[in-house]
Structures are given as C-alpha cells and as structure tokens.
Amino acid sequence: MYRPARQQTMQVTINSKMEALDGEMSVADLLARRKIEPIRVAVEINEDLVPRKTFAERMIRDGDRIEIVTFVGGG
C-alpha cells in the first residue's frame, strides 16, 4: 500500500513539551533546526543517553521522549 516516505508527522516530547516534527530527522537534524550547538548539550531519548558521536545516526521515532540538557550554575 502507499506510504508517503517523508511527509509523516511525528509526535514527540522534548523536555516535557509535546511537539510535532515533520518528516524523518536525526538528533543532529533536530539540534540544527533549533540552532543548538551539539557541543553544548547532551541528549537522552526514552531515558537512554545518546552519545554525541551518534547524533547524526540516531533517528527520532514517533513517540520518543527527548531530553536536551546543558550545564548551569550549581553547587
């Protein structure tokens, strides 16, 4: 049957906010779209760490719960 390859919308959760993402994308694509410097963040998907060196390969899937974190001041 016919399946549009690239125009599917995915529902994901990014830092607890529901968001719709258009089309396939990797973690690297997501960060680029949000103008986030990869060197300044760490990413978890469904509570598993995504190593920075795999950002380009790790594809985001429908329903993923994504955390994007950085360092802030703390004691």
């Binding site: 830092n15 949000r34 103008k35 986030i36 410097e37 060197i39 300044r40 963040v41 760490a42 978890e44 509570e47 760490l49 190593p51 920075r52 955390e67 994007i68 974190v69 950085t70 360092f71 802030v72 001041g73 703390g74 004691g75």
Partner: protein, 278 residues
C-alpha cells in the same frame, strides 16, 4: 604549604576549596569570586537546555565563563530524588564534558536527595547510585549525611571520596555536629590516611570552613556562603584564608581543652602581694 598537595581519585590539587557556580548575580561576579577563592574545582549542575530565543542560555553557556584550563569541572546530580535519576544525570554530565579539554568527565558529585524541605541526602538512594556509577567507571564523590556508618558504607561501595554535610544545603548553619564529622574522618581514614573527605554544604561564613578543616577534613565544598554574601568576591577571599587557617591549625596540632586556666606568664618572680584588705 605549597607542597601540601592531596589527591582525590586520579586528581591532584593544592587548593582545598571546592566552589559551586550557582546563584551568583552575574557571570562576571561568579568569575571574579571563583578567582578570588583560589579554588581549582568548580561544580556545575545538569539542567534542561533553554533556547536563547526563549530567554535561555544557549548563546551564553556557563562553560563559556569558566576557564577550563584552570578549573576541574565537577558535575553534580543536584535535583535528583532517586538513584535512577542521579545515574542518568551523571551520564549526561559526563557526556557534556567529553570532548572538552577538561578532566571533569571522569568524576561526579552524586546527590540523591530525600526531601525538598531539608534537601538532606537519601542514604539508601545515595548508596545505590554510588554502586551503579562506580560500576559505570565514574570516580564518585558522594554527598552524604554526617553519619559515620553510612560514610563507611559509601567508601566500601567504591566512592572515591565521601562528602559529609556540615548542615543542610544553603542553610548557613556551619558544622552542626563536629563529633560526627570527627567519627566520619576516623572511620574513613582508618588504615587509609590519604582517603579524601570533603565537608560539603551548610557553610555560612569563613569560620565554618576553618572549623571543618581544623577537624581534619581534606577540603570543603561551598556555594551559597560565597554567592549569597553581600560582597561575594570579598567573601571568596575570606574563604581562601579560612581554608589555609584551618589546614595550618590542623597540621600544627591544637592544645587540649582544659577546664581550668594555665598561666601563660611565669608564675615565678611575681612581686609581693599587698596586704589584703578585708
């Protein structure tokens, strides 16, 4: 004192002050205070990234304001209330430091908190997270209650350092139970005098730091005591002096406490007392 170096796992330092980076009025004040404190270790927390367009830090990250060649970055797991979340937070912190020219990716200050009112450590969760992170290859510095038995259990679980609290985080109450800190030091350093013990949390002013060091702690970690002072940079200098004063006093060996006085001036050759008037 220049040769008075000490080790924490694979790290070696001269300064015995660890300083947190939270709650400063600006990055400029933070940078000046860290410099004035002469610290070599600074702690940071892992938090959700906020985009610059949403008023966040993306264009102005704290790492852009820390000299990574001067300070070892110590990520903490502050804000975690379960062992599982602390382990996740530690791994995120390690990932953030990997690839940067800083040794901080090797270690973590583990905090598993029990309660939002007191921010006291959850001893069971802290022990669980310590075991798991040691297995995952971290050098674990365990923020702990001032309980000598728990301190020993954390060391047995492989903690690189135990960090007993002086009093609750940010409370400014100083070292509330010096006897428990003494027992922690005795148990942790038994047959292992170089095992590093860092008193963490509760420091309100310079004398609190000195007291911890006089008890024989290897170092003190503080944040609010500097960041919350009216003059943070000046207080940072005071803390640097306090560390030195306490360390030197500890190494010098204090006199025992006695109930009665012992004269400092000679008791011989005192002039003849006048006749007493009744």
């Amino acid at each position: 004192m220049s040769s008075d170096r000490y080790r924490v796992g694979s790290f070696e330092f001269t300064s015995r002050l660890f300083v947190g980076t939270g709650k400063y009025g600006s990055y400029g004040v933070m940078e000046a205070a860290l410099s004035a404190s002469e610290c070599e270790v600074v702690t940071v927390a892992v938090r959700r990234d906020v985009l610059a367009s949403e008023g966040g830090t993306q264009s102005d990250n704290i790492l852009d304001h820390l000299d990574l060649s001067r300070y070892a970055i110590l990520p903490n797991t502050a804000g975690c209330f379960t062992a599982r979340d602390a382990v996740r937070s530690a791994k995120l912190g390690r990932e953030l430091l990997q690839g940067l020219d800083n040794p901080g990716a090797k270690w973590v200050k583990i905090e598993v908190l029990a309660d939002k009112k007191t921010l006291l450590p959850d001893p069971v969760g802290t022990l669980e997270a310590t075991k798991e992170l040691v297995d995952a290859g971290f050098e674990v510095l365990a923020y702990s209650n001032d309980d000598p038995i728990l301190a020993r259990r954390l060391k047995d679980a492989g903690a690189t350092s135990v960090m007993p609290l002086g009093s609750p985080i940010g409370s400014g109450q100083g070292v509330l139970n010096p006897n428990n800190i003494r027992l922690c030091l005795e148990y942790l350093k038994e047959d292992d005098p170089d095992y590093p013990v860092i008193v963490d949390a509760g420091v309100g002013t310079a004398s609190d730091v000195t007291i911890a060091m006089e008890l024989g702690a290897d170092g003190v970690l503080l944040n609010t005591g500097i960041a919350g002072a009216k003059e943070p940079v000046q207080m940072a200098r005071a803390m640097a002096h306090a560390i030195q004063a306490g360390r030197l006093a500890f190494l010098s060996g204090r006199i025992p406490r006695k109930l009665y006085a012992t004269a400092s001036s000679p008791t011989e050759g005192v002039i003849t007392p006048s006749a007493r008037r009744v």
